[in-house]
């Protein structure tokens, strides 16, 4: 079936981006279940990763050759064992890591090899939610959500505040607006972090293991917020996670990474229930 062929083509032969786009067009035309995302004819991917490589300290090669396209409004869940490079890939997308080689295009615009000033502008379009939340502990929840808007987007304080309240309410923390991070639980902190990222209205939201540092009972709240965002938020999301339930229910597409390359990708139920690669089978087997 075509899904298999595409997976194979993308990862082994490393097709140029146009071919991947073509694949999307075909997927759309033939209504093929590569992703639950509804492709639009002629649409370009919002994130286009080509031959991405990342080497740390000149020896540890974390990303060997990553190719991945993410379309507007798509929810892509990236799975993989630790050390597979999924977090590094995510951090390369908003240039927290500088790619060693390869290209990353956001809305057809190259983002690698830019000056630090340009990088700042690029990052406005890329929201990030961290495993450790990384809220600013000296600011209240509301101020955390406001600071990017006022300092970077140069919004007025009133405007930013209104947006902050709106986003905090959206994550169910309207009543915690004036609390400082130390007064919030981990789950609440992570929801504030999500509100902070969403308030910037980025083109793409990147989630780097958003629930891994949370107590199990707090994971559900955060996943709930992410699920709502994915289903009703009209947001493009790339989620690195170990939450298989979330991947299966919410993901438009699941990407399995291993050894610095994308090994397999496709509809969540395809990847989970009928994995094609041995490594995928092995990984899924180890957690089921």
């Amino acid at each position: 079936m075509l899904g298999k062929k595409l997976t194979h083509t993308i990862n082994v032969d490393v097709p140029p981006a146009m071919e991947a786009n073509e694949a999307a067009r075909i997927a759309f035309e033939h209504d093929l279940p590569l992703s639950r995302h509804h492709f639009v004819e002629g649409e370009h991917p919002v994130v286009r990763i080509e031959h991405l490589m990342k080497t740390f300290d000149g020896e540890t090669q974390v990303l060997r050759d990553v190719n991945l396209n993410v379309w507007n409004g798509e929810i892509v869940v990236v799975l993989g064992p630790s050390g597979s490079g999924k977090s590094t890939m995510l951090r390369c997308i908003n240039l927290l890591e500088t790619p060693t080689a390869g290209h990353i295009l956001i809305d057809d615009e190259e983002i690698t090899g830019k000056s630090s000033k340009e990088v700042g502008i690029i990052r406005r379009d890329l929201g990030m939610v961290f495993q450790q939340f990384n809220l600013f502990p000296h600011l209240t929840a509301k101020e955390n959500v406001m600071i990017g808007q006022t300092k970077v987007l140069k919004k007025s304080k009133e405007e930013a505040e209104a947006e902050a309240i709106k986003q905090l309410e959206a994550v169910g923390l309207g009543d915690r607006a004036d609390y400082k991070p130390p007064q919030l639980s981990g789950g609440q902190q992570q929801r504030v972090a999500i509100a902070r990222a969403v308030a910037m209205h980025p083109k793409v939201l990147l989630f780097d293991e958003p629930t891994s540092a949370l107590d199990p009972e707090l994971v559900r709240d955060v996943l709930g917020v992410m699920r709502e965002l994915a289903l009703y938020g009209d947001m493009t999301m790339i989620v690195v996670t170990h939450e298989m339930g979330f991947a299966r229910d919410v993901g438009d597409r699941v990407v399995f990474m291993e050894g610095g390359v994308v090994v397999e990708q496709g509809l969540p139920e395809e990847v989970f229930d009928h994995p094609k690669h041995d490594r995928t089978k092995q990984f899924l087997g180890s957690i089921n």
């Binding site: 064992p81 630790s82 050390g83 977090s87 908003n94 927290l96 630090s116 000033k117 700042g120 502008i121 990052r123 406005r124 890329l126 929201g127 990030m128 961290f130 495993q131 450790q132 939340f133 990384n134 809220l135 600013f136 502990p137 000296h138 600071i147 990017g148 300092k151 970077v152 400082k180 991070p181 130390p182 007064q183 919030l184 639980s185 981990g186 902190q189 972090a193 902070r196 990222a197 910037m200 293991e209 891994s212 540092a213 949370l214 107590d215 199990p216 009972e217 994971v219 170990h242 939450e243 298989m244 339930g245 180890s286 957690i287 089921n288």
Partner: protein, 463 residues
Amino acid sequence: MRNNRRDKSKGLLSALAMLMLACALLVPTTALALTTNKATARPNEDGGSGVIGGLDTRLTWEGTVEAGEEVSAVTLTLPDDGTFDDSSTKITVLEGLSRASVEGEAVASGSKLEVTFSEPITEGYLLRLEVEGMRFPSEGGDVVVGGTYVNQDGEQQLADSKPIATIANTPLQALVASLDEAAWVQVWNSNPFLGMFFKPQLLVTAFATLVPGWLLCLLIVVIAYPFAIVLGLIFALMKISKNRLLRLIAIVYVNVLRGTPLFLQIYIMFFGLPMMNINIDNNVLGVIVIAINASAYLAEIFRAGIQSIPQGQYEAASSLGMNYFQTMFDIILPQTIRRVIPTVTSDFITSYKDTSLLSSVGVMELMMFAKNLTSVSGNMTPYVAAAIFYLIVTLPLIKAVGYVEERIAHSERGGGPRPKGKTAKTSAAEAGVKLSELAVHAEALDDEHAYAPTLTPSFASEV
């Protein structure tokens, strides 16, 4: 004490010599004035050089007998509130350098002291009266010693002395005087240690005397410190800058200043700058030296503080699109300041104490006053008083540092995951649901994240 110094000896031998001289020089002359040479008073300020009214002191009056005179009595007069009561007078008569002895009797009554001589004092003789235990008027001011004398022609007016500056007897001086009298003070002071380090009278005097020095210390450090903070911040940012030259400058600055004694830095600035014809007021120069010295330490404190902020804070700020200055001034530095407040306060305490070194170059700060008072009084108590002045500032600050540290430790728990430990309490049912996910957690966390929380053993075994 002062009473003990009263010298009641009259000197029979000198009286005899005087008699012989008087006989030899007995020549009738016309009446001229007994000239007042001087009138001085011994300082009676504890550890100071002032003459305080209303307290025992010694008046020294000198006059020269003019040609043809024979002085048989002298009466000294003080302004009304002055008193010679309970005083003792030593009479010395000199011709040139040799000393004559004259029998004399001094009778004190209130502000008058009448001295009569057994033999008239003749021409060319110097008459010195040392009146121990007299008191000037307690309101202070310039006191003129006047009076009369008696020669062969009868009573004559004595020329007024030059005014003696006296200090009003304040409650403080009255307190010191009363301590002087108090029995317990005498017992206390008879202990060599207590008397040398904690002499009550001197402690009281020192507290009053040291205040200007203490204020100067505070002024120097309070003015210097904001400059030190700004300088320190600049050098801290330079030291973590990506620019090699800036880094090098900051490293040299910080290491040279931290690697040499402040004492040396003070000497170089205070003696070096004038040699280059750069003359700055001592107090201002003191501020500059303290500011520069403190800035080097603060630079290191700030650098460490900035670098203690987790990388995640930079990443979060970057991912919002904030630039270097926004990240620094809106995110990193506000957190750094909270963290370094205790260390900076400690450094402030050090700088405050370091102002004492400025006494070595003549800045009139606390130590300088204490040193002066000690050299005048020959007692260590002023240093103890200075120590108390230092402690007045440092002890509350030390206390505050402890309090702030506690507060910070309390609030620092935010910004990252809260401490774990509740994991094991998760109910079995809930645990069952999450079991598969947790297995992945455990695997991922163990390998990938040094910062990751660990599962409690009981739970891990279930997995």
